[in-house]
């Protein structure tokens, strides 16, 4: 049983709660494998996708998850909403709640916004990415995928490569996989890896070749082009030359390594197409698993007593 009405971050979850979500997701994955992929579980409930930041993948995944659970779904995205008219965040959220939302899926460019709304709203708030804080469902679906492929997480050597500093996906994954007993290493330029993280018993490699050695799971992060020219790295070309995942570098990892990417990918920058589309890639399975994990989260939050 989950104890809080909201899913704000992995930081707020216990190991038991993470495992419960993953176990429940496995059941939903079965449902998704059937001809009739929908269950009536949450019929009559309303889900609002409140996205203050553009997103197609995550929003679509939540939307479909909500529909598979038989909730009604409203997409409340920024350009059409009154947010641009200067309405305050709290007012927007209260309006959405007044429409009868039971679940509010929120993405916002400012860290902590889901936490602020969770305090103000009776609805279950699910964090779909806040600033550079967390993206909990992505970490859960990654953990689910790893568990499915490797049959365990404890003791695995997992490398996260790229812009850790600005990545909520990396943060949530670090917390989640550490809680589940994996060993985490971070690979990337020093400007993109906060040195404070070393205090969390995490190994940091600035050299890609050294970092890839003996890795069981390789998580590549999207390099955001806007970081270039802001002093984080001089050019994507130089980034790619040093930290891009090429076939030669890839051979340094374990033979049964799996490669993950939260998407959208910059092919040829952080990852080459040969690897992204290759046999060790589980990138598309991550997408499928995302649905199951999000259904599990919504189902379990619906059971939290207020």
């Amino acid at each position: 049983m989950l104890t809080k009405k909201d899913l704000l971050g992995i930081k707020e979850l216990s190991v038991e709660e993470i495992n419960l979500i993953l176990d429940t997701a496995a059941v939903f994955k079965d449902v998704l494998g059937r001809d009739i992929k929908k269950v009536p579980t949450l019929r009559g409930k309303t889900t609002v996708n409140l996205f203050f930041e553009p997103s197609t993948r995550t929003r679509t995944s939540f939307e479909l998850a909500a529909k598979r659970l038989s909730t009604d779904v409203i997409n409340f995205s920024v350009p059409t909403s009154s947010v641009v008219k200067g309405e305050s965040l709290i007012d927007t959220a209260l309006t959405v709640q007044a429409l009868g939302a039971d679940f509010i899926i929120i993405r916002h460019s400012s860290s902590g916004v889901p936490h602020l709304l969770a305090k103000k709203l009776k609805a279950s708030v699910i964090n779909a990415g806040d600033g550079t804080n967390e993206h909990p469902t992505q970490a859960l679906l990654d953990a689910f995928t790893i568990r499915e492929k490797k049959e365990k997480i404890e003791g695995l050597e997992i490398a996260i490569v790229g812009d850790i500093a600005h990545s909520r996906v990396a943060k949530s994954n670090i917390y989640c996989l550490k809680k589940l007993g994996a060993k985490i290493r971070l690979i990337g330029p020093p400007t993109l890896i906060p040195k404070e993280l070393e205090r969390m018993d995490i190994d940091v490699f600035h050299n890609m070749e050294a970092g890839l050695k003996d890795v069981d799971v390789l998580m590549m992060l999207r390099i955001q082009m806007e970081r270039q020219g802001r002093g984080f790295f001089p050019s994507t070309k130089e980034y790619s030359r040093n930290w891009g995942l090429t076939s030669e570098r890839f051979s340094l990892a374990k033979d049964d390594v799996i490669v993950m990417h939260p998407g959208p990918m910059n092919r040829g920058v952080e990852i080459t197409s040969e690897i992204a589309d290759g046999p060790r890639s589980v990138i598309l399975e991550q997408v499928t698993n995302g649905l199951a994990v999000r259904m599990a989260v919504m189902y379990l939050l619906a059971g939290v007593k207020r």
Partner: protein, 180 residues
């Protein structure tokens, strides 16, 4: 206060009888499958399958069904039901499904199970086996095979304990203590 309604032997005899009834009514085991409702029903379905095999020398497929996603009381239950896997590893369309549960009470679990089954495919028919029918139906649902009919009060609870769950086979009626 608790009272034993059935012991190991009683349960076994009831299952044997129902296995015979199932074969008789269906004129053999053609197109037959057993689906137990998590969790008690699953154990009983497996036992019925082995009894049928003893009698007919035929293997019939057994599946397990979790009905958590189909319940109508998710909003009012004190505790959210634990979700278990539904494992029906065969195509149910055109099969005669023998649905197995331990206790038949209000009929709501069976209603949920019927919905869950229909979402898996289009069976030729669904028949219901229960070990205990304790009455108090709230829906127009009736079992085709009953191990034992037991009149109960609403305040009482019926518990089926099975060796598969690490207990001794028996059925117990729990009555709340009545103040003198």
């Amino acid at each position: 206060m608790s009272k034993e309604l059935m012991n190991k032997m009683d349960i076994d005899r009831a299952l044997t009888r129902m296995a015979h009834e199932i074969i008789e009514k269906n004129k053999g085991t053609e197109k037959l499958c057993l689906v137990g409702i998590q969790r008690g029903g699953v154990h009983l379905a497996k036992r019925l399958a082995s009894k049928i095999k003893q009698i007919e020398k035929k293997d019939i497929p057994v599946g397990s069904l979790d009905i958590a996603f189909y319940r109508d009381d998710l909003n009012i239950r004190k505790e959210q039901p634990v979700v278990r896997r539904t494992e029906v590893l065969f195509e149910v369309t055109d099969l005669k499904i023998i649905l197995v549960d331990d206790v038949l009470f209000t009929g709501r679990s069976i209603r949920a199970a019927l919905d869950a089954l229909i979402d898996l495919g289009r069976p030729a028919s669904i028949q219901l086996v229960v070990l205990i029918d304790r009455g108090h139906r709230e829906l127009p649902i009736k079992a085709d095979y009953v191990g034992k009919n037991i009149p109960t009060a609403l305040s009482e609870t019926v518990e089926v304990q099975l060796v598969e769950e690490g207990l001794e086979d028996r059925v117990i009626l729990e009555s709340p203590l009545v103040p003198l």
